[in-house]
Symmetry: C2
Subunit: 138 residues, 2 copies
DNA sequence: ATAATTGCTCTAGTGACTAGAGGTTCAAGG
DNA sequence: CCTTGAACCTCTAGTCACTAGAGCAATTAT
């Protein structure tokens, strides 16, 4: 049985975030002290590890709630968990694609100007003002 | 001179967003009608195009405010504009790197399970619970 | 016993919008 | 000229995943 501070230190999740997760229904402490302080056990430690890992992978709180519901009903098929993971993967891939396109344009933008001119004829500002110069459409 | 609705249609920026940008100090209409409705001209159209383009490239409202300040003082050197663009590029590259790492892990996650087992022995849930199985650290 | 640390709840702020309520103004047709 | 309906106005609150701070209570160490 340990305090919220100890849990925070062990998992690397900040104290207010743990309390926020509790509010969102992700982890509740097993019990409280007489003075109303949260006391956690090993299962909560593992649960929070799970949550942190999923958050690091970009899963939304809502998606994690779904995964937790699956953990709590291990008789359900695994399809749902895999679907959540696949959706997340698709999301990440879409983001990568978009960011890569932006990288290309920003690169041209940043290289077009050596930084020695004056802003009145700055390539960066001109390029931002004139979308025509873009290769990809966004 | 055209209305906010016409401006929205021409630029593809939604009406509430235009009003929000005005609140943030990005674009103000030249004038208002007697009945207090916004009326925009060509300069505002171009300004909003600039803003949209920069937002599409991931620039923050704050960064765009900086760029606009440069436009308004064309005597300043171009260095600042380039610096803002370079910072944005670095940011985008960092995000791509992080997302690519996540993509790898998510891919393993989603492929480890064919979706036919039961959640009690689901690879997705197990992998999320056990960070040890990860290759990269995040 | 006391001081230092840690904990509690509650409210409000972040960024970049989006949604809705409740009311006003404009443009077009009759 | 008048009415109708679309578009407009302001203002407040909600989104997501936290983060910060106020003001107070409990625990721990000395």
């Amino acid at each position: 049985m340990f305090s919220i501070g100890a849990l925070a230190k062990r998992t690397g999740v900040k104290i207010p975030t743990i309390r926020y997760y509790e509010q969102m229904g992700l982890i509740a402490p097993l019990e409280r002290t007489e003075g109303n302080q949260r006391r956690y056990g090993r299962p909560e430690l593992e649960q929070l590890g799970f949550i942190k890992h999923a958050r690091d992978l970009g899963f939304s709180i809502d998606a994690i709630l779904g995964l937790i519901a699956l953990q709590d009903h291990p008789d359900r098929t695994c399809v749902e968990a895999t679907e959540i993971a696949r959706a997340q993967l698709a999301d990440v891939r879409a983001k990568i694609a978009k960011l890569t396109a932006l990288e290309g344009e920003l690169n041209r933008l940043a290289q077009g100007c050596n930084g020695n001119g004056i802003a009145g004829e700055c390539y960066v500002l001109a390029a931002l003002a004139d979308h025509q110069r873009c290769e990809a459409d966004h």
